[in-house]
């Protein structure tokens, strides 16, 4: 005999779209963060946003925790459910409702895949810039919940900068709407700003209006190799000081370069200490001029090799190397832990040095790559989750990475979110009152604590 809650859930979405067998629950007990697994008690797969709203209301009436799951690529445990909870999948809410070329916006359901929107926009000469590493599978609902970033943060910003409007269900299942399809809108509180990055703890997003911009006419990629870290960092500062804003300004360290090269044989110098991958985009004349300047700056600061991609093949090769960075590192050891401590970009050399010291101190392999333009680094710790002794050292190293980042005026997370993984560190960056205030806010909006409980503020 099924209990009344699960019967009611089946009534809302149809019985073939509710799962409760332990085997299926196991498949929704994890995300990409590699934390301890928690099996939910039910999984629902709604087919319309109305059903989504009814599910929220039902969960609230029964006091059952609810965790929304898109592609499950979260890197901070934000999609790990509660034991008595319901996982709500957004996979069937995958329609691009409107793509408006004249007014340059798109209205989408939360389950639309990031890359699908970007591709659809591109067909009309438009551009959706946020490009998290998981964009081929990640959903826009998840991107909004995490305020996902990507490679283009320096010039184009992050998901937050593209959210014009949101519809979401509050904890009671009431539909809240905020923002508009207009460039300007000051109607009511700016609730979208509160919702973006709230990791599903304040509401359940049902519809997103996203800003689109024109596609840049020209793109050019540059690769610069350095035999020391310092001149690479100086080159980053010099490019910014020259009033140039590259679309992408990426950094790869020695271990990452070696890993990429051994895997893809592109011809990277193995002794290189650092590499910058830079992309300029915009009007062809400006791109050409700025690319020339960037090449000059890199050469002047002692780059041992500077390659300017002229053909499409060369361009592809340079970016294949960057895209392959994570997977090349991932192949070195069974388990990889990808962090995203972020510092002001002028502090990158200090942070890279700190990571090197931490790797040595705890006897770990840590490869670092990331977004040099916006200070968002990805120290990637290579380990084996079965090795309990090493696990302790890994935890201590992560702790110290956060400590050093904060000491450099940085932040715990640039783009992966706090979730479960970093909730305990939150007070270190903020204050006790910040957490209390946030908890009060959460309690006022979600008195039964059903919306993804335990994330961010514990």
């Amino acid at each position: 005999m099924k209990n009344s809650f699960s019967m009611a859930l089946r009534e809302i979405v149809g019985k073939e779209y509710v799962m409760d067998e332990p085997v299926d629950m196991l498949a929704y007990s994890y995300d990409a963060a590699g934390l301890d697994q928690v099996m939910p008690s039910l999984v629902a797969h709604p087919g319309t946003c109305e059903e989504l709203g009814k599910i929220v209301k039902l969960c609230n009436n029964h006091g059952r925790p609810l965790t929304v799951r898109g592609a499950g690529t979260n890197l901070s445990g934000g999609t790990i459910p509660n034991k008595s909870g319901v996982v709500v999948l957004t996979g069937r809410l995958n329609k691009i409702i409107e793509l408006n070329i004249e007014d340059r916006y798109a209205v989408v359901e939360p389950g639309v895949i990031t890359l699908q929107l970007a591709t659809a926009a591109e067909r009309h000469g438009l551009f959706y810039p946020p490009d998290p590493g998981s964009q081929a599978v990640s959903t826009l609902g998840g991107n909004v919940a995490e305020n996902a970033g990507g490679l283009r943060g320096l010039k184009y910003g992050v998901t937050r900068d593209y959210v014009m409007g949101l519809d979401y269900f509050d904890a009671q299942g009431g539909l809240v709407t905020t923002g508009a399809k207009t460039v300007k809108c000051v109607t009511g509180y700016d609730l979208a700003s509160l919702m973006v990055g709230s990791e599903g703890t304040l509401g359940v997003v049902s519809r997103i209006t996203l800003k689109l911009i024109p596609q840049p006419a020209k793109r050019k990629a540059i690769m610069a190799v350095f035999s020391h870290m310092q001149p690479a960092a100086e080159a980053v500062s010099a490019i910014i000081a020259a009033q140039i804003t590259p679309a992408v300004l990426e950094f790869l360290d020695h271990l990452t370069i070696k890993a990429v090269e051994s895997y893809s044989k592109i011809g990277f110098p193995l002794e290189a200490a650092a590499m910058l991958l830079i992309e300029m985009d915009g009007h062809p004349a400006q791109v050409a001029e700025e690319a020339e300047q960037v090449v000059k700056i890199c050469r002047k600061l002692g780059a041992v090799e500077v390659r300017l991609a002229d053909t499409k093949e060369e361009y592809e090769q340079i970016w294949a190397a960057r895209r392959g960075a994570f997977s090349a590192l991932a192949k070195l050891k069974p388990t990889v832990i990808l962090e995203d401590a972020t510092v002001p970009r002028s502090k990158i050399p200090a942070m890279v040095k700190a990571i090197g010291e931490i790797a040595e101190k705890y006897n770990l392999q840590i490869g670092t790559f990331g977004h040099a333009g916006d200070g968002n680094l990805h120290p990637t710790i290579l380990t084996d989750r079965r090795d309990q002794e090493e696990k302790k050292r890994v935890e201590a190293a992560i702790d110290e990475i956060f400590e050093r980042a904060l000491a450099l005026d940085g932040t715990l997370s640039g783009e992966h979110g706090i979730g479960l993984a970093k909730a305990k560190y939150l007070e270190r960056e903020t204050t006790a009152a910040t957490i209390t205030w946030s908890q009060q806010l959460k309690k006022a909006l979600d008195p039964n604590n059903i919306l993804n409980p335990g994330k961010i503020i514990g």
């Binding site: 498949a27 590699g34 599978v137 997977s327 192949k331």
Partner: protein, 431 residues
């Protein structure tokens, strides 16, 4: 018994642990695209095996059911950022769990009594061919595809090409082939679908090889490559077939083993060395795997194609090419079949969107989950239609069956051909 399963799955731990749950396999999986279910994608299946091995769940049949709901196309593995050996995990796990749950009575009958007794299998289908008209009928008068006469058959509403009246092994001798070649002597591994449904592909292969002066040995009796057994977790039947085939194809009697079936090629080349446990066979299996080549790979990389005739004043038809997963994702072969097509005068190759997206056939998957399989195929059909082609070519007879079905159900008169057929057809025209 369940403890036995758990301890054996533990042996896969070194492979299971390499999955970091990044979820990128979702982008590659045609089945996940249809259902959006985590248990349908590689990450979910690996998590289930890991959970079973670590005793988080104990429902081995439940895991088996979800594990078997897979096309085994290998798309996930070829795009996996951590290089998880997904196919090896899946096939070995299927064998471990099947050893515990046993084969279904129908599969047991087919594998134990038919497939692993090649002589009986051959005869059964030979006698069966004239009788098939009692069970299937042409879709329309004069159409090349047929469908089931009765409702509720395992065929569903599939449109299929019927069994050939005369199988390949009864008619290949009509093609004059030398048994010793000037440069190369090869052996031809026919494969079940070529032998019983598409003898014309086998004959085309022999004609092209003869034209290039290649010596060809075709053992009249050969067995299935064993992929149905591997997919069902039937290790015993699989090894029996490998042993039989090794006797049919003594490895020191030819330079290369040629097939015109992507699935047979990938099974012999990759799965045989991976899955054969019997150590007495390992050496021969390894040599045979090294010698096995797809026909287009052999012609382009080893033999060299004739230069194409001048076709400047000839009207061109559009041909598009579907990459079989077992050729491109499993073996990295995608340019050679296209070179073959480009060498055929009168055809212009026009690429479809995502030519390497799985067509949804997956062997026994399409019998067990026909609705899902057909829905995946219909996406492929739409991509084919958008090219405006008159012929779609692909190097795998199983893909050909799937494409034939989806095109015929849609009422489209696009021809489905193996690239070697088009090449052979051109040779005939030139003569």
């Amino acid at each position: 018994m369940i403890r036995e399963v758990i301890s054996q799955l533990g042996e896969l731990d070194d492979m299971l642990v390499t999955c970091m749950r990044c979820g990128m396999c979702q982008a590659a999986c045609s089945l996940y695209e249809e259902t959006g279910l985590e248990t349908d994608v590689a990450r979910g299946k690996i998590a289930l095996l890991d959970g079973l091995a670590r005793k988080m769940i104990d429902d081995a049949p439940g895991v088996a059911k979800r594990l078997n709901r897979c096309l085994l196309c290998g798309s996930c593995e070829s795009g996996c950022p951590s290089g998880v050996p997904i196919m090896e995990i899946f096939l070995k796990a299927r064998a471990i769990i099947t050893a515990y749950t046993g084969l279904s009575p129908l599969k047991k009958l087919i594998f134990r009594c038919v497939l692993t007794s090649p002589a009986f299998f051959d005869r059964l289908l030979e006698y069966g061919a004239p009788l098939q008209r009692f069970f299937i009928k042409p879709v329309k008068k004069g159409s090349i595809t047929s469908c089931a006469r009765m409702k509720r058959t395992p065929l569903g509403n599939r449109h299929l090409e019927p069994l050939a009246p005369i199988p390949f092994h009864r008619q290949f001798k009509q093609v004059p082939i030398a048994s010793e070649g000037e440069n190369y002597t090869v052996a031809f591994f026919t494969g079940c679908l070529l032998d019983k449904i598409y003898p014309r592909i086998g004959l085309a292969t022999l004609e092209v090889l003869a034209h290039h002066g290649i010596g060809v040995r075709v053992p009249e009796r050969q067995a299935c490559c064993g992929i149905p057994n591997l997919a069902a977790g039937d290790q015993q039947g699989f090894e029996k077939l490998v042993r039989f085939n090794l006797e049919c194809f003594p490895v020191d009697t030819f330079d290369y083993l040629i097939t015109a079936c992507a699935t047979c090629t990938s099974t012999i080349k990759k799965f045989w060395p991976m899955m054969v446990d019997d150590e007495t066979l390992a050496g021969q299996v390894r040599i045979l795997a090294e010698k096995t080549m797809d026909i287009s790979e052999f012609l382009v990389d080893k033999v060299g194609l004739d230069s194409a005739a001048d076709t400047s004043n000839q009207e061109e038809q559009i041909v598009t090419y579907h990459d079989p997963c077992h050729l491109k994702k499993s073996l990295g072969i995608s340019t050679q079949p296209r070179r073959l097509l480009e060498a055929v005068p009168g055809y212009r190759l026009e690429e479809m969107e995502q030519p390497d997206r799985c067509c949804g056939m997956g062997g026994s998957f399409s019998l067990a989950y026909y609705a899902l399989s057909a829905s995946i195929a219909d996406k492929k059909r739409d991509a084919i239609l958008r090219t405006g082609c008159t012929t779609v070519a692909t190097s795998c007879p199983a893909c050909m069956m799937q494409l034939t079905d989806t095109l015929s159900r849609g009422g489209h008169r696009i021809k489905v051909r193996h690239p070697i057929e088009l090449l052979a057809q051109d040779l005939v025209q030139r003569q």
